[in-house]
């Protein structure tokens, strides 16, 4: 990867972190409502994955979607405005934190029913297969989604029909507050793909370069072979499941241990060691992000509320 691209990845990861940290403050200040699930700690996963796709490849994810939104090029302004429910939000204030999408950026949501978007992902790929193109659909979901029926129906049809889907399980160790080994019959989630005779592998999700390499290889396979692939990414969320999580299910030492492997810290070290960039250059990116996020908050706060007549808009196309 070229220097510019590497620095862009660094920029994206820091941007996700800072947008969400500011988002958390605004949530606590009562300016953001509903549920908000932070991606902090998992930034390397979506950043590495999205960097590995062609623009024509689709991505669809669950409700922890701010990272994917920013990685696919939805602006911090549009993300922040959506969090605040404003008319300028990417979903015009009608979706909120869990429902961000952009057809233009090939980002297909933002879906809030656990596992519910997996059959839809198979459908996106079915639509592409029907159109006889070789687009790949990247479908991201948590470890918790692999215990629900949708998962199994979706994987099964992707295999029998030879759909181009890269299934990406972000194993962040907990489905809400229930540890993987308390909810799943197998700890190694990728084993579930074996039941569908699907090629699979596991990768360290705290290292963006490892995610990128694994994703590139997997996408190449999916495209060339017209077969689905299952990638399990081992990661960790530093914050609670959502903003109202008392976190009784894990010890602070465990969180601290994972924080020593901070994905942004690891990547920063990598860039410095490979002399891709100086500390000063990286600090400049951090400062740039700070400006960008300040502007996004300003934009969101000064944006108009949706008009009351928009209540009835877009219930139907016709």
């Amino acid at each position: 990867m070229k220097k510019d691209q590497l620095l862009d990845l660094y920029h994206q990861m820091v941007l996700i972190r800072r947008v969400e940290e500011r988002g958390a403050e605004l949530y606590q200040a009562g300016k953001i409502g509903g549920f908000m699930h932070l991606y902090i700690g998992q930034e390397a996963v979506s950043t590495g994955l999205i960097a590995a796709r062609e623009p024509r490849d689709r991505v669809i994810t669950a409700y922890r979607d701010h990272g994917v939104a920013l990685n696919t090029g939805i602006s911090a302004n549009e993300v922040m405005a959506e969090l605040l429910g404003k008319a300028t939000g990417i979903s015009k204030g009608k979706g909120g934190s869990m429902h961000m999408a952009s057809v233009e950026k090939n980002m297909w949501g933002g879906h809030a029913i656990v596992g519910g978007h997996l059959p839809i992902a198979s459908g996106l790929a079915l639509g592409d297969q029907y159109a006889k193109n070789d687009n790949v659909t990247i479908c991201m979901f948590g470890d918790g989604a692999t215990n629900i029926g949708y998962f199994h129906e979706a994987l099964n049809i992707s295999k029998i029909w030879g759909l181009r889907v890269l299934w990406v399980c972000e194993n962040n160790q907990y489905g809400m507050g229930t540890a993987v080994n308390r909810a799943s019959a197998v700890d190694d989630i990728r084993q579930k793909a074996e039941g569908y005779n699907m090629k699979n592998s596991q990768v360290d999700g705290m290292d963006v370069m490892k995610v990128y390499d694994a994703a590139r290889e997997a996408i190449e396979y999916v495209r060339a072979e017209s077969q689905p692939y299952f990638l399990e990414v081992i990661t960790y969320r530093y914050r609670g499941h959502s903003m109202g999580d008392p976190e009784r299910y894990r010890k602070q030492e465990e969180v601290k241990k994972w924080q020593e492997n901070d994905p942004i810290g690891i990547f920063r070290k990598h860039l410095l060691e490979k002399k891709t960039a100086s500390a000063k250059a990286l600090d400049e990116i951090d400062a740039q992000v700070e400006d960008e996020v300040n502007q996004a908050v300003e934009f969101a706060e000064t944006s108009p509320e949706p008009a009351l007549e928009d209540l009835f808009k877009n219930v139907y196309v016709e």
Binding site: R58, G89, I90, S91, K92, G93, K94, G95, H99, A101, S102, V103, W108, G109, G110, H111, I113, G116, L118, P119, I120, A121, S122, G123, L124, A125, L126, G127, D128, Y130, A131, G149, Y150, E153, A154, N156, I157, I160, K313, N314, V315, Y316, V317, E318
Partner: protein, 324 residues
Amino acid sequence: MAKITMREAISQALMEEMDRDPAVFILGEEVGVWGGTYAVTKGFYDKYGPDRIKDTPIAENAIIGAAIGAAMVGQRPIAELMTINFAFSAMDYIVNQAPKLHYMFGGQFRVPMVIRAVGGGGRQLGATHSQTPDAIFAHFPGLKVVSPGTPEDAKGLLKSAIRSDDPILFIEHATMYQVRGEVPDGEYLIPIGKSKVQRAGKDATIVTYSKGLELSLKAADELAKDGIEAEIVDLRTLRPLDMEPVLESFKKTNRAVLVEEGWKSYGVGSEVGSRIYEEAFDYVDAPIIRIAQKEVPLPYNRTLEQAALPQVPDIVAAVKEVLK
């Protein structure tokens, strides 16, 4: 005008739209090699091949979920549910995903999908395979629910549904595939969301749809023998509900009987009746009567099953009652 069966009308609609638009394809259980469990897609597999007539596993979440996804990226899938009772297995997609996607993402997504589902009782299939749960689906904004009562309407409405950019649940009645009716020659469309007077009359208004239309037409024939002229308004679409012809008729007759095959509680008749009271209270000359299924799971035994389902004499008696 040709006289054809409901089955032929639906098959013709599917075939004409598949011939017209290459984005249209069919998926579902046994739609292909088998030819459809109600033989609606008989011969389609040989004509269109496995890509356009897609046999699926018995997995309703996969069927409807995949149809939604394919629709989102520009195809026009028609998903067949072997029976509407299997819709409950895919309820999340039918009521919680498809109707929300256009609205929730600020208008970015479209879901031009039709779900064809076979509903209704009367075939001794037992409680889990005989339901008429149409009203449940009509509860959700964002979904359109269509249920025709004649071959002409079935063909014209299904063609409109396939061309629509909104998700549509198209409910066919399992005992009506052999019903024959006149169908216009050549291409025609019937707009979704328009009720229709299927029989003119001046004494009382019967509001119904689907199987209820068949029963109500027979009841009207009976009533005519006694000199009573019942007007029958066929809803055809449950959501969006077109009350105009209903209210127009009611303002003329001042009396109504509402006929549906589903359960009475929280049903189609409840909705239509409330709206008449809300919008035409001054015209009410007699309490409105609802004819519907008895409040039991449908039994297997034929006598018991028929006792639970609405029958022609129930409608005749109700019309005479509102005319008292």
